[in-house]
């Protein structure tokens, strides 16, 4: 029933699902952290914002851990090449992820405004770093990354941290930043005290507008300014996972897959429609506004993944070394086993995550906060 090609497509879709899950769930935490100093004017207001994400951020961050683990298991070459190639960029992201858990826990443990302010900056910086670098990394996928394999499939990489800062990649970084800040603002509009929520609504409107403009700009640039990759000759979708068995042609369009599968257009259209939805809903029905921003995030990431298909990690140095859905996966047995595990466990995860959100529902108000903390 599940031939190798089907399993690979399923795991490509699951990789996208985990990435979107991470961006939606952890994205609003990062967005709120990034806006901490903007939306929260004093320590008390910032505490309201932090308490709005505190009970759930840890579970949300697990989407990232799971994304890493699933990539390791299902796409080991993708995991190995991207993490070792973009070494210092990933290291910065890692530092951000290390500082968050302790930041949330330690911030309130010593009562000194300088201590709280230090951790506010740490949380803000860690949010911005992750949002920006993930976008820049995504942008670089379209440009191709400078790696090649030798005959032992040992990868070598030519370039450093600064080589990732191509203008298009920077634009992609800004798309990611504005999108997730907007998403975070939508969460604050839903969760924070009305005083702060009103500020968040205005912020969300501005940020979605900015996001939409940057997103369209990136699309136009991609269509006219950046050559696409394509597999040359017959596509061996059932072939062994060895990237060197294929040939790759460069110079086509990244929109080729959109022409081949017209339903792919639903993703960018959804992203833009959802941006309009955020404008219309965030101020009046905050739950609907947050759902709209979630769809905006999901549509954006899906649209990028669709454009790349079947590529996962194109190589600018040696196009033949590019990783694609057809030649970078685990063995059929591993994909099948991991699919079984995911089908059983993912719904359970969604179930208890939903329960936790229900238990912790409701706005965090300044009044509650003053009561619980004895008035300081």
């Amino acid at each position: 029933m599940f031939d190798y090609a089907t399993l690979r497509v399923i795991w490509w879709a699951l990789l996208g699902t985990l990435l979107i899950g991470f961006a939606i769930m952890d994205g609003f935490d990062f967005g709120v952290a990034g806006l901490l100093k903007v939306l929260g004017r004093d320590n008390e207001e910032r505490l309201v914002l932090i308490e709005g994400i505190e009970p759930t951020w840890e579970g949300n961050q697990t989407w990232f851990i799971l994304g890493g683990g699933a990539t390791f298991a299902a796409w080991p070459m993708l995991y190995a090449v991207s993490f070792s190639g973009m070494y210092l960029a990933i290291f910065l992201v890692l530092l951000a992820f290390i500082l968050r858990p302790v930041g949330f826990n330690f911030r309130g443990k010593i009562h000194d405004p300088r201590w709280a302010s230090l951790w506010d900056w740490v949380l803000t910086a860690s949010g911005v770093v992750v949002m920006l670098i993930s976008g820049i990394a995504f942008g670089n996928l379209f440009l191709g990354l400078p790696f090649r394999f030798d005959d032992d499939l040992r990868m070598s990489w030519q370039g450093g941290l600064l080589d990732l800062l191509h203008p298009f990649a920077l634009l992609a970084g800004l798309v990611s930043l504005s999108m997730l800040l907007a998403h975070g603002a939508c969460w604050a509009a839903l969760k924070a005290d009305h005083l702060i929520a009103a500020r968040a609504v205005r912020m969300a409107r501005w940020l979605t507008l900015l996001y939409a403009a940057l997103y369209v700009l990136a699309g136009i640039w991609l269509a006219y300014g950046i050559p696409g990759f394509a597999i040359a000759g017959a596509v061996a979708s059932e072939g062994v996972s060895n990237p060197l068995y294929k040939q790759v042609a460069q110079g086509g369009s990244w929109f080729a897959s959109y022409m081949q599968y017209p339903w792919f257009w639903s993703a960018p259209l959804l992203a833009l429609a959802a941006a309009v939805g955020v404008q219309a809903l965030v101020g009046r029905r905050s739950v609907a506004g947050f759902i709209a921003s979630s769809l905006m995030v999901g549509g954006t990431i899906a649209s990028a993944g669709f454009a790349l298909f079947p590529f996962l990690l194109p190589s600018s140095l040696d196009p033949r070394s590019s990783l694609t859905v057809w030649d970078a996966s685990s063995s059929r047995g591993t994909l099948l086993l991991m699919l079984g595990v995911t089908v059983v466990l993912l719904p359970i995860i969604l179930l208890y995550t939903g329960w936790v959100y229900r238990v912790m529902r409701g706005r965090v108000t300044l009044e509650q906060l003053r009561k619980a903390h004895g008035g300081y």
Binding site: G69, Y79, I90, L94, I98, I110, R154, M155, I349, A372
Partner: protein, 530 residues
């Protein structure tokens, strides 16, 4: 291409540093969470408020430690890809699966419930909160299970075969990976060690309160729980440590021979070297104090089986290098000519030894060109650092027996209600606090340093597993880790000491007559009444 030796050294240093650092926090989480679950169960069953307050007070310390464990755990998940890229793609087909399952089955549950544990006291019923705590405890141990299944595969790589077309190891039997005997013993041994640490943590801090005459009721109750749980855990660590030793003797012969400094195969049943000074160069143990028969009994659970010595295992490695070279040559032939039936047959007959040919890659680009001297050198390199393993193991073992004695004494005193009758006992309990950490880190050294020179025993040499990054890059990240981890360690210790000193009384958690208790958030920030 010849691997950059500096990158290998720095990557190993970074891995050891980050793993050992992570392993300061994880075992405490593993043990403490069960103590919280026990305390909360008593609360729900008896309805006595003090037990809930105990959960909340120890929960504050648990929370600080948990955050550190999570923060440093992220590094572990991503370091394989960053620093061990060739390792990751060479064995990701097998090794990645348990890591991903750990995330889905265990860590997700743990991370999602932790918020409700701290902030849900007033939002859900007692029973539901208890269930949350129990699931939290189960999830942490389950997490250890999957990590140790992955780790056990590095020690004893079963259920996988080399695929020359993809140049990597691929799964042949998941059940073999899952039911790896090394995994089962390691799991029980490791989580029990965590339970011992959690118990010691509660025992020592409670002893400190009793020495100061503070929180007396609170501390005695805590000590009673810690003594009972700790005694069971300490017994299990040692008994299952023996089981673990038995599987090591069977599946990881070189590691066993190094731990026990068995330089040459001795007639069965072999003697046990209690103390001595292992001498790597001369391959003998100076000033050895031996107990006849004991090693054979422990290692083989028999009187008539021999245990192979280091010299014999080196000879064995040398002959495996020879077979590995046949496999290597066949692999290269297959790369040019996929259908070559003769090469396929040669590879199939020798692919279990391919890893031994890869040992030569440290000194020569094409292992087939290796000189006899290089082959001898590669065979010799399969000996791990004997003195370090020998002593680490012995200190760990002494600690293990000490824990049994201390917890047995504590249990006896607790059952006679004499916990605070003698100050020397309380001081002993207090100053024993660091010992479980010492034993646990030494256990890591025995298991992982003892695996060298292999990343995957017999399959992939550590030196070959590294990424194609520069030494400068690794130095940068290593420096960053040292800097950040040191800063975090300082903050962690400062906060731990601060909240321990404040104690249940100073935090207004118990007794509560001095401060009116507010309904919400007692467990998490714990500071609101100051």
């Amino acid at each position: 291409m010849i691997i950059d030796a500096d990158v290998v050294t720095l990557s190993r240093l970074q891995f050891a540093l980050t793993a050992m650092y992570h392993f300061l926090f994880v075992p405490l989480t593993l043990g403490l969470v069960w103590i919280l679950a026990i305390m909360e169960s008593v609360y729900v069953m008896t309805g006595r408020e003090v037990w809930k307050r105990m959960v909340q007070f120890w929960g504050v310390l648990f929370g600080i430690n948990f955050a550190m464990g999570v923060a440093t755990g992220v590094t572990m998940e991503f370091q394989f890809g960053m620093n061990w890229a060739y390792y990751s793609q060479y064995v990701g087909d097998i090794f990645g699966a348990p890591l991903a399952i750990e995330g889905m089955m265990a860590f997700f549950l743990e991370a999602t419930l932790i918020g409700v544990f701290f902030m849900g006291w007033e939002r859900i019923s007692r029973i539901r909160h208890l269930l949350v705590t129990w699931f939290l405890a189960l999830a942490t141990s389950l997490s250890a299970l999957w990590i140790l299944i992955a780790n056990a595969w590095m020690q004893n790589p079963v259920g996988a075969a080399f695929n020359p077309q993809t140049m990597r190891m691929e799964v042949t039997s998941f059940s073999a990976v899952l039911f790896n005997p090394v995994a089962q013993d390691k799991f029980v041994h490791t989580v029990s060690a965590g339970y011992v640490l959690g118990s010691m943590f509660v025992l020592s801090i409670s002893a400190w309160y009793l020495l100061r005459g503070r929180n007396v009721d609170f501390a005695k109750r805590s000590m009673t729980v810690a003594a009972s749980f700790g005694l069971a855990a300490a017994l299990s660590v040692v008994v299952l440590g023996d089981a673990s030793g038995y599987t090591v003797a069977k599946d990881q012969q070189m590691k066993m021979a190094a731990i026990e400094a068995i330089w040459h195969t001795e007639p069965a049943p072999a003697p046990f070297t209690l103390f001595g000074l292992p001498n790597m160069r001369q391959r003998r143990t100076d000033d050895a104090l031996k107990i006849p028969w004991l090693m054979g009994l422990l290692g083989t659970h028999s009187l008539d089986q021999t245990m192979p010595g280091i010299s014999e295992l080196v000879d064995d490695a040398k002959s495996r290098i020879g077979k590995g070279l046949l496999a290597y040559d066949a692999m290269l032939t297959l790369r040019q000519d996929q259908g070559n039936a003769q090469a396929q047959a040669v590879l199939a007959a020798n692919d279990k030894d391919l890893g031994y040919a890869l040992l030569l890659k440290r000194s020569v680009d094409d292992p087939r060109q290796a000189t006899p001297a290089q082959i001898q050198q590669a065979a010799d390199s399969t000996i791990p650092n004997v003195p370090v393993l020998f002593w680490s193991f012995r200190i760990m073992m002494v600690c293990g027996f000490y824990f049994i004695a201390l917890f047995a004494l504590s249990f006896w005193k607790a059952s006679r209600r004499q916990l605070d009758s003698q100050r020397w006992y309380l001081r002993l309990a207090l100053w024993s606090l660091p010992l479980p950490w010492v034993a646990i880190e030494l256990g890591w050294i025995v298991a992982e340093y003892g695996r060298q020179p292999w990343a995957i025993a017999g399959v992939l040499p550590t030196a070959l597993g590294v990424s194609s990054v520069s030494a400068g890059q690794v130095l940068t990240s290593l420096g960053g880790f040292v800097l950040f981890y040191t800063a975090l360690a300082i903050v962690d210790v400062v906060l731990m000491l601060k909240f321990t000193r404040k104690g249940p009384d100073g935090l207004g958690i118990w007794p509560n007559h001095a401060f009116p208790l507010s309904p919400a958030r007692n467990g998490e920030s714990g500071e609101q009444h100051v």
